[in-house]
Symmetry: C2
Subunit: 254 residues, 2 copies
Amino acid sequence: MNKPQVPDFLKNIRVVLTRTSHPGNIGSAARAMKTMGLTRLYLVEPKVFPSPEADTLASGAVDVLEQATVVASLAEALSGVTVACALTSRRRELTTPLAVPREATPELVARAQAGEQVALVFGNETFGLSIGEVEQCNRLVTIAGNPDYFSLNLAMAVQVMCYELFSHSGFAMDYLKPAGEPATLDEVEGLCGHLAQAMDDIGYFRRRNSERLMRRMRTLFGRAGLERDEIDILRGFCKQIERVAAEHGKIERS
Amino acid sequence: MNKPQVPDFLKNIRVVLTRTSHPGNIGSAARAMKTMGLTRLYLVEPKVFPSPEADTLASGAVDVLEQATVVASLAEALSGVTVACALTSRRRELTTPLAVPREATPELVARAQAGEQVALVFGNETFGLSIGEVEQCNRLVTIAGNPDYFSLNLAMAVQVMCYELFSHSGFAMDYLKPAGEPATLDEVEGLCGHLAQAMDDIGYFRRRNSERLMRRMRTLFGRAGLERDEIDILRGFCKQIERVAAEHGKIERS
């Protein structure tokens, strides 16, 4: 199976970092973005940029840093954007509805798929977004977490949001799935019959309720979702049991 | 509104890091866990631990490191565990079903809520989990991402999984939500009537289709989900328009 391509509409999603203090966080954010197929990074008044520290932490995502757009105001970063999500973990005296990422993401994906430009806006590591910055956004998003320790690192927050977006993008992981063939119900039934015969041959049913035992085996196999290969292994095992039982019979007779 | 408590069952979820090379990643993972209310960290043969670098990156989550359990084998870390999820991004020749975090998480949460011990198992930064380690787990989880750059940092992967678990924990963010009072339909209708009157008073409807205009206003207000306060502001504005229009009328008459 071929590797699928990252969906093209992800290029309509911007990540905007405003007034970031630590260049390492910019690098880690770029790496987080690229792992989830995002590439458009906007930096509003970064304290230090470009920087070797950002490049180091970006690892293989230096291309995202090289293409980053550095601007002097959030308004510039949001030019052409229809929906901007302010990431915040503080209680805000605003009547913009507050959503968790899972609630906010489907709309962002739908708009980006329709060709609109949308943005995720992250504030400074220590102070978050200013009131003025939040007011330039038309959505508020909070990543739910431990209320007694809400110390989510900036790049971690970027990772979580990009992960949410990617997980709504309809990208299929099928190419990583093992190619096993599921057994049909009649194949499972054939195994059960074979197993019952083998159990009987070696005297396992003596003084036991064979129907009840087989019912338990049948539900176990049903739950496990057997593969065809596994049926083959188990039936081979049953065949060997029957063979040994037959020989044992011969030995006893002699 | 009081801050809610982190759900107690999260203590039944272990994060297991096997053969971690960089102590900084252990610290960042501890911080990631704590932001999402997880505290049980197991370290299988960490290269360096404890270490000042881990403590620095753990930030306020040094308590998670101090309580961490260091063991010599994955089997020890999984003692008492019913479901262990191996995190992997490679194609595995195993017939354990491969799930994305969102598919795998509800079962983990349900089991942890029922008092079972469950585990997330993360491999070495460079080599991932060995075949032997994966075989000790009964679930396989892959975080979907860019197939051309799957360079998710270890602590980032921990953050994503802990975020998923927390987002399924039923924790309500209501205490962060603004306490606005939504307007009722008749209050919105009252505003529309008032607005129509004000528009008429200042001659805005002249040569325009007033019904069509008001229909657009009504759908706009419906979409916006007005708060009672906002209705008050807008009706105050309408009242002022009517006042000015009336004075203007007087001025004209005079």
